[in-house]
């Protein structure tokens, strides 16, 4: 690898790099960004130009890490004047550097899209010269892609904190989604690992984009053909496990981002140790995948199940249960609500029953209008009875006589193996200790002050 890097570097000095070499360096450098989706906006084709978008997003392939490949995810350049401790591209690292030209970005996008390799482009960048200069480069590439190459597919662009707001506004008229990375859950975390970045500068463009989206929606009501600003909404991401925040703090931040900044998605990225730096945790067990997984489950509960962060966690219980998913965990701590009668309970409450997801709940609500449901019906509908049976009655009866008692149900639920997206055998115990490493008791003073104003 070292030799390979050396060769690539010397090549870059002596002659023009090939497009393959650039693609290698600039996708490698972009891979830690987790925003992979192409969702949020339905746009039919216009009958002439190439491209449309589909609200649900489309996955085009899957990488060896099991993550979806939807967009051509690249950096415009991996040159950077900043020195974020967790980042491979930081200026103090000696790595091969490359930059695309706007035409190269356009051609790759068009040719990949035609072959149905991708759903569109994700363009981010290291900081060259200044945030404004960098944003200008990105703007030029996107402008060309839309106006010269007439690309109508999905475009996700990173807003660079600190760039001229006018530029962000202009990029927003061309992109489907924009995101500003929060980087780390709290301002303290940011200060310790990203000395050139400031929480204030990150939240400012986030607010600007939010306002732009609201205004644009308003304009659309008045004039149907008003140009759309960031129609697929904005997202952000934070690195998990590089700094000592608790799950509770992280969820509270996420909740605020959804509520106060109208974010479409918050992504959580298990910290990957790429730089030797004493400010970074060692993480001998690898990236904290289980923790990341629990955060996504909880995030899902916030967005689609009507939960609030402080129902799931608290100052006294600041971290998720490693062995149980957050919904089961909540149910076990609230046995006073159970059992619930399937033929009567309202939709919102039904969503809180372990073993019943959004899809089954919707089906139940429809089906019970036409007939009283029993356990066979629930099974047909797709309810996971092995989990749900402790929490429900059908026509007043439970499936089996069972104790409604925390210990008893916990033991039984644990015997139903949870399907995790990675190998648990070895991970669980490692993860277990990781949770301990990372979670210094939370202080409310650290809680997001900036976000709660």
């Amino acid at each position: 690898m070292q030799i390979e890097n050396e060769i690539i570097k010397s090549v870059s000095v002596n002659q023009e790099m090939s497009i393959k070499e650039k693609l290698g360096i600039l996708s490698d450098a972009a891979k830690y960004d987790v925003a992979c989706t192409s969702s949020g906006v339905d746009r039919k084709g216009n009958g002439t130009d190439m491209g449309n978008t589909v609200a649900g997003g489309i996955c085009h392939s899957f990488a060896a890490d099991g993550r979806c490949i939807s967009l051509l995810k690249i950096l415009f350049t991996n040159e950077c004047i900043y020195d974020c401790k967790y980042c491979l591209n930081r200026c103090s690292n000696d790595v091969p550097r490359a930059s695309f030209t706007p035409d190269e970005v356009c051609e790759l996008t068009m040719e990949f899209y035609r072959r149905n390799y991708i759903e569109g482009l994700f363009l981010s960048s290291g900081i060259i010269q200044s945030p404004t200069y960098t944003m200008e480069q990105i703007y030029e590439a996107i402008l060309k892609l839309r106006k010269v190459y007439h690309f109508m597919g999905y475009i996700h662009v990173k807003a660079i904190p600190g760039a001229d707001p006018m530029l962000i506004q202009r990029v927003g008229m061309l992109a489907d989604r924009m995101s500003v990375n929060l980087e780390l859950p709290t301002a303290e975390g940011l200060k310790s690992l990203a000395p050139n970045k400031h929480r204030k500068n990150i939240l400012a463009p986030m607010r600007q984009i939010q306002n732009g989206i609201t205004e644009s929606r308003h304009d659309l009501v008045l004039y149907r053909n008003a140009p759309k600003f960031v129609p697929a909404g904005q997202s952000t991401q934070m690195i998990i496990g590089a700094t000592p925040e608790s799950d509770y703090q992280i969820m509270a931040v996420a909740e605020n981002l959804y509520r106060k900044f109208d974010l479409k998605r918050v992504f959580y990225s298990a910290f990957v140790h790429v730089n030797e730096d004493k400010a970074l945790p060692a993480l001998p067990g690898g990236p904290p995948l289980l923790r990341e997984h629990r955060l996504y489950q909880a995030d899902w509960l916030l967005r689609f199940y009507g939960f609030q962060a402080d129902e799931l966690l608290s100052e006294e219980k600041p971290n998720f249960n490693i062995l149980l998913d957050p919904k089961c965990d909540w149910a076990l701590r609230h046995l006073e609500f159970f059992p619930m009668e399937i033929n009567r309970i309202d939709y919102q409450m039904m969503l809180r029953i372990p073993g019943i997801g959004v899809k089954s709940a919707q089906k139940i609500v429809k089906a019970r209008r036409m007939a009283k449901l029993d356990f066979t019906d629930l099974k047909r509908i797709g309810v996971v009875l092995k989990r749900a049976l402790y929490f429900i009655t059908c026509n007043g009866r439970m499936m089996y006589p069972t104790k409604i008692e925390e210990d008893y149900i916990t033991r039984n639920l644990l015997s139903v193996k949870e399907r995790l997206p990675f190998d648990v055998g070895t991970v669980t115990y490692k993860q277990l200790s990781l949770f301990d490493d990372v979670n210094i008791p939370s202080q409310s003073s650290v809680m997001e002050r900036v976000l709660t104003h």
Partner: protein, 270 residues
């Protein structure tokens, strides 16, 4: 009472005209089945009848479904009937029959009925494959600039895929070839797409790729390699998200040219 089994052709036309006949012949629905294939074991006290497809009858049934149950229900039926499931025709027949007898426009929401669940599940199975192939399908540029994709779907979904790509690539001549069924969709620039049997395909043209084709295939394979995070390596998850029967047709997995058009290998399903 004697049971009746109506055996019909495996096509929308065949199945919908058999449903028409079941009504025309005043079959007792609880004792009648509609199948697209012969039964493996013949049952006693059962009559087996081979039905003739009739476009006119089918159109009448389709019109009735659209009028009485709406487009969404009709699409549920079409997607369910696009599967290879042996019970599909019978399930659609009985959902329809229940909907008619109960005068229930929302019969597809009555999940306490076994047949409703069956149609729902089959429809979802087809839909999942459509969703997957919208992403996993790979076009290759032929020498003459035509984009050619080869897929091996489990369900008969070409007509569901075609509108998506026609909307997305209006300026491209493209062909999507269903390897399992020997049929393809052809989209000529500026015109409506249409279905075609593979008998009329010009095979030799499909063997020559454009100059750039190999280069882009290589670039994308390289990109897929680079974008994965080594520390998160998880081939199990990768396979779960993108099943091997899809990977077989995707150049970033096969590493080179996906197997090209080969008539001898195709399996006719009916």
């Amino acid at each position: 009472m004697e049971k009746r089994v109506l055996i019909c052709e495996d096509s929308l036309e065949g199945i919908f005209s058999a449903i028409y006949d079941a009504y025309a012949e005043k079959c007792v629905h609880d004792f009648t089945r509609i199948q697209t294939r012969e039964s493996e074991n013949l049952e006693l006290f059962t009559s087996y009848e081979h039905m003739v497809s009739c476009n006119e009858k089918a159109v009448k049934v389709i019109r009735m479904i659209l009028n009485q149950f709406g487009e969404e229900t009709y699409l549920y039926f079409c997607r369910a009937l696009a599967t290879e499931d042996a019970e599909k025709a019978n399930a659609v027949y009985h959902v329809l029959q229940k909907g008619i007898s109960e005068q229930n426009r929302r019969i597809m929401e009555k999940f306490s009925e076994e047949c409703v669940n069956k149609v729902f599940e089959l429809s979802r199975y087809t839909n999942n494959e459509i969703m997957h192939l919208r992403g996993f399908l790979r076009f290759q540029e032929l020498e003459n600039g035509v984009l050619f994709a080869r897929i091996g779907p489990r369900n008969n979904i070409l007509t569901f895929l075609a509108p998506h790509f026609a909307d997305r690539l209006p300026g491209e001549n493209f062909i999507i070839y269903d390897d399992t069924r020997g049929i393809c969709v052809i989209h000529p620039v500026g015109r409506e797409w249409f279905l075609m049997d593979d008998r009329d395909m010009n095979e030799s043209a499909l063997e020559h790729f454009s100059e750039k084709e190999l280069e882009y295939r290589e670039l994308f394979t390289f990109f897929c390699e680079k974008i994965g995070i080594e520390e998160r390596r998880n081939p199990g998850l990768q396979r779960q998200m993108c099943a091997l029967h899809f990977q077989k047709y995707m150049s970033e997995f096969t590493g080179n040219v996906p197997p090209i058009y080969d008539k001898s290998k195709q399996i006719k399903t009916n």
